[in-house]
Symmetry: C2
């Protein structure tokens, strides 16, 4: 029996069916609405994520569980009934964490809770000890005279107020070490890039600029940053001792794991959805980004379970090594850059469990009526219409930059950066209603994209991203 919502939907569809062949047929719209209503009551994404976090756990690129994660993804895609499952190699420099401790040694000795930033060098075995010099953000450090920094440990105390702050605040994480080196400092420690007030430091990648000394770089929890700021506010020199064991150890090879539901009419064109399989090592990568992998795997499976045969193929990618520099995303691009026109649409899920708040597109104008149809079918899931400059997620950003039609399914990230890159990113934080809405939206989006009677414009040269605004 059709639900009231479906009947209302059906009325809309029949209105559309009078239109030209630049929109989905009434039959496809009805199928999309039925898929939506079936998918929203499913629990598969929750179950897949339970499996990944329980049976694999932390999945740092090149780390002890990387190969087990790849094996898990292959087995899961096969078990879910994908038509083809394969993997493509991704090779990268291997980083090892090692030990990480820090303490204030004067004037108020007490231990701190810290973690090394990813890719940071270690300290000498006996650690590094120095007076802290505090800056409110990276810009203050950049603007400071070198003699304020020389011989000291820089403390970048930039507090992240909400999830929209990430780009701005993580600049201190990425570049703090080199900016400290430029002024003769000896190490850097940042306030964690995170919105929580728990005693978890947040890790995350940093990088060294060429031709500058490589300094050890760590993050302390927000609670610790508050503590250290209070110490410094008393006006006496505050001394930190920090020992890090991070190091590079040759290279590692992991894999982008790919599952395909093969299309019935245009099997060589495909809708690309996915998440990244790697995580940082501190938690079990539930919201970052086991969720994205589970959401997109289940989205494709729900289409199949509903008995639908998409015209184009639907590919789910579980990307290798996003965390250390979008390396899996680049590898996929390099392997497929001569066939970008075959990537009909791209959308990665990498900001947690959802729900999805808005559907943004990045398509040619001729395809906007189809986008509008998607938005109408998704409206009952509380998905709003977005703009036409959608971002397809970190690993797929390189596809958009190279003219691939993209979709940005905006996730509710209000608590994402509470957990991001911490030990606290674990499965118990996942709420079925949230992740299952997200999976249902991905299912409807992927199905409707696959059925579109028009091209979204990939590889036509018509899709040129606007320049990013300066920060």
């Amino acid at each position: 029996m059709l639900s009231k919502t479906s009947l209302l939907g059906a009325a809309i569809f029949f209105a559309f069916s009078a239109q030209a062949a630049d929109t989905l047929s009434a039959q496809d719209l009805q199928a999309a609405a039925a898929l939506r209503d079936a998918a929203r009551t499913g629990n598969l994404s929750y179950q897949i994520l339970e499996s990944l976090t329980t049976e694999v756990g932390p999945r740092m690129a090149g780390g002890p569980n990387d190969a087990r994660a790849v094996a898990w993804a292959e087995a899961k895609l096969k078990a879910l009934g994908f038509d083809k499952v394969w993997k493509e190699p991704v090779t990268f420099p291997k980083w090892v964490r090692g030990e990480e401790t820090a303490e204030i040694t004067a004037p108020f000795p007490q231990p701190l809770h810290i973690t090394s930033l990813g890719m940071s060098v270690g300290t000498p075995k006996e650690g590094v000890t120095g007076e802290l010099v505090r800056f409110a953000n990276l810009k203050e450090l950049v603007d400071a005279p070198a003699d304020k920094v020389r011989g000291k440990i820089v403390f970048i105390d930039h507090k992240m107020e909400n999830d929209h702050d990430y780009g701005k605040v993580q600049a201190g994480r990425s570049n703090g070490a080199s900016e400290t080196a430029r002024k003769g400092g000896i190490a850097v420690i940042i306030r964690s890039v995170g919105t929580d007030s728990h005693r978890f430091p947040h890790t995350g990648a940093m990088r060294y600029q060429p031709n500058l000394p490589q300094l050890p770089a760590a993050a302390m929890s927000n609670s610790d940053a508050d503590l250290v700021a209070r110490m410094i506010a008393r006006g006496k020199p505050v001394t930190l001792k920090m020992t890090l064991g991070g190091r590079m150890e040759g290279t590692a090879t992991s894999y982008n794991v790919i599952g395909e539901m093969t299309g019935s009419e245009k099997p060589d064109e495909y809708v690309l959805i996915g998440g990244h399989l790697d995580s940082w090592d501190l938690g079990t990568g539930a919201v970052d980004d086991g969720a994205g992998v589970a959401i997109t795997m289940s989205a494709a499976e729900m289409i199949k379970r509903q008995g639908l045969k998409p015209k184009r193929s639907i590919r789910v990618i579980a990307y290798a090594n996003e965390e250390q520099g979008l390396i899996g995303g680049r590898a996929y691009y390099e392997a497929h850059k001569n066939e970008l026109q075959k990537i009909h649409a791209a959308a990665e899920s990498d900001e947690g469990q959802g729900p999805i708040l808005a559907l943004n597109s990045f398509v040619v104008p001729a395809a906007l009526p189809v986008v509008k149809q998607m938005q109408e079918v998704l409206a009952p899931l509380n998905v709003k219409a977005g703009d036409n400059n959608g971002n397809p997620g970190p690993d797929m950003g390189i596809l958009k930059a190279n003219g691939v039609a993209s979709f940005g399914l905006t996730l509710d990230g209000h608590d994402y950066f509470d957990l991001h890159h911490t030990p606290d990113d674990t499965f118990d934080k996942i709420e079925p209603a949230r992740i299952n809405q997200t999976a249902a939206v991905y299912a409807v989006f992927a199905w409707m994209a696959a059925q579109s009677p028009v091209s979204f414009g990939s590889g036509t040269g018509q899709l040129v991203p606007p320049p990013r605004p300066a920060r």
Copy 2:
């Protein structure tokens, strides 16, 4: 100028002033109301706690900061203008934490976040490895046949639902190791005794029963317990490896630090308030129990600042070593047990920052009208009247048990066990409005108790606590 509340209060007081001399005078009641109104807008308790957590930090009994905490308390009491400040020695067996790591080794290898329970022995250097056997609570373990446990690591998976559960759930922490030993198990690991869902293990004291092997004992975070329970639910044997470095190292001596505001009429009788100065080592002991120390120090200071001269003395005790077995409380009792009748009233604050919800007493019937007066003055702070079986807190429990008049100022503990005994017990969790209400209530209570025209019954033999209900 008197506030409206004060005028209303004054009206009540004058009604009382017609009564006999078994209640406080109208003048004293007016002073109590003025104290309440001045104290509720103060911020001293918040400032004292900021000082303790920032300048001393973690304060494990016998640990590296114990002596610095004692020096801080002496200096702070002097700076606050107490008439006398002294310390009384407290000697106890010294426990050292050492390393603590654990991992699931099969079938799903991944690290766990654990901590040793306080007073636990360590494992051999290479750790202890064994199959986990799960029990839903201590009673299930006690009731289990020995062959289910023999050679295994016991996992007590007792989830604490709310702050009223503590006594029941912590039985597994206290006695799990010995009950495991009784059945031939090799180690015990419990779900943390805590109400949070973050990845912090909660430490806390355990003890060994005589004539049984002493087994290593640890706690895992609630997130880890969820994870391990999910692994076990899959039905295959789950193997844990755990390495603990805990050990006893001779004895240590710390001090109960005491400050007295000396009474004007009965200086040898005193109202005893306080908290415990020691904390566990993982956090900085903000809610447990820096708050209690700060609240009661500031309560006495606010009485003085208000220009009030209490008839009896008010003593603030910052107790040594509550955490490892109420050792400071016992030491105070032993040193003063021949003068219990001089302890006019006793009330310790040791369940966080408040606010205070109710005032319970444990006094002779003749003193109940004074208690009623206290409750009336405190009503504008949203303090309810309680019963006459009040508990004066852990260190003062021994005083009540020996016939000392006691007060139980019930704190709002709804989030206390989120933080209790974890790294997350830090100053940034303190809300000024909550702790300052608590300090204001302690100030009013202490002042009114000191002014009481009647004895509350300490040392008269009339105060006999009812037997505790069996759990």
